[in-house]
Symmetry: C2
Subunit: 280 residues, 2 copies
């Protein structure tokens, strides 16, 4: 039995990326408070001058939960020095996520290192990089939320592109890592249902992100749609994750340079609330 979102406004979360262009963190917090929105996802580059400590205080005072902190991973390294720098950066992201009390740290794989065509090596690098991150994450009490991205990002952003691959990695890596399911990245997959069930069976689904796939899509990164404006059957996928035991937030994350990022953030949030209730 799926949850009726129109009767559960408290399950809505807003990812800061959805209003990143015109809204800093204090403004977003105020907009959420006035609407009864109870959770947000934070971004490392949007924490503001006080960094994670100040952001954590602000969010705590406002009574806002942090679903995910975005983001880390990006393991494409051209050599040992770059690999060490990436690992250090990932440790800092873990510490921020701990400070913020985030439910998970959002991790994306990274693509191929510059000049490389070796996809198998990139996959191995991701496995090893996640393993190294996990040592620090477990000590810090932070769960890693691996987010498979759409295959169109395999070269330059993330070479983990399916729930199956993410499940395989989590199986190999053990405790402390789970999966963020974003409908934009996985909706096309004919084997989505069994892989979501597989993830849910071990309590591995750490987040559920929504937006929509527009037809036509005009930009690879920043032409994502508001829920209901595209072709994704969001309720069907939500049904899958809930049937698999997921009971957490429904987080709106929209990259939309030419549309939603240009609008008044208050209007964007109001639309998110309506579509959350009607189209998710």
């Amino acid at each position: 039995m799926m949850r009726d979102l129109s009767r559960h406004p408290e399950l809505l979360a807003i990812n800061h990326a959805t209003v990143r262009r015109r809204c800093d963190l204090p403004t977003l917090v105020g907009l959420c408070q006035r609407r009864g929105i109870r959770a947000i996802a934070t971004w490392r580059d949007l924490l503001g001058e006080g960094g994670a400590p100040a952001a954590a205080r602000l969010l705590r005072q406002a009574g806002l939960q942090v679903t995910g902190h975005c983001r880390a991973g990006l393991f494409a390294a051209s050599g040992p020095a770059e690999r060490a720098a990436i690992l250090a950066e990932n440790r800092r992201a873990i510490d921020e996520a701990a400070e913020l009390g985030a439910q998970s740290l959002c991790v994306i794989a990274g693509g191929l290192p510059g000049g490389s065509r070796d996809l198998a090596a990139a996959h191995a690098e991701v496995h090893d990089g996640l393993g190294a991150m996990l040592e620090h994450a477990r000590k810090a009490g932070v769960r890693l939320g691996l987010e498979p991205l759409h295959p169109m990002y395999a070269a330059d952003r993330a070479c983990v592109n399916t729930m199956r691959h993410a499940n395989d990695l989590c199986d190999a890596l053990g405790d402390g890592i789970g999966i963020l399911v974003d409908v934009y990245h996985v909706w096309w997959d004919p084997h989505l249902a069994p892989e979501i069930a597989r993830a849910g069976a071990v309590g591995r689904i750490l987040g559920f992100h929504v937006c929509d796939w527009l037809v036509p899509t005009r930009d690879f990164l920043t032409d994502r749609g508001m829920m209901g404006d595209g072709v994704i059957d969001i309720p069907r996928i939500r049904g899958m994750v809930e049937a698999a035991g997921y009971g957490g937030f429904v987080e709106v994350e929209i990259f939309s340079a030419e549309d939603w990022w240009k609008r008044d953030p208050a209007e964007v949030l109001d639309t998110c609330m309506r579509r959350y209730a009607s189209a998710c």
Copy 2:
């Protein structure tokens, strides 16, 4: 042991789409003859005024083989009338492929019917549409070459996006249908090797297409690269199909509105020949 393409120029095939903007079929035939290129893939909209009979005569006289005839399928139908029209169109494409003596008729799935979000229904429509085509194709002695397209085309072009899905469909449909492996569409798939082996084990690989994935890619459809200019490890994937028993042509198919389609077709073919020998 992989074939050494630099010693086997006779295995090169040129898909007419690679030079579609500035080159009609007679011109392409002449350019191929002067270079010793022995096979092309034809397009329905590029056969010229005499249609398939005239094109077949031209190609026979020139001693050119037809790898694939492009293309059919596109099963997204909004109702019975449209479904019947699509089936009739697909029958005509089969008859053309028979007339041309094509090794296969290239079939893509089509996306979601206008206004639909029902991916499962679209998948069922593809299964049933292929089944209906196969009755006619078997009588005509034409093999259907199902080409899984990149997942970024799932909504508006093809909702069969992986080798696994294509293999599943072929298993369900029986004789007369195989798969065209295009590196552009499948290179990102972490389960590519086992699915290519699965296809090869039953002699199902009917064609092998090459181009390259550019970083960045600026357009969803027409920003494909010349082999060697992108990130795909083409020899690795060719090794997979050859290890699986494929011994046919290596067909160059490049959609490139802003680069290769603007160039002199003779220069394009000369480049294809060089890169075929050095980067595939």
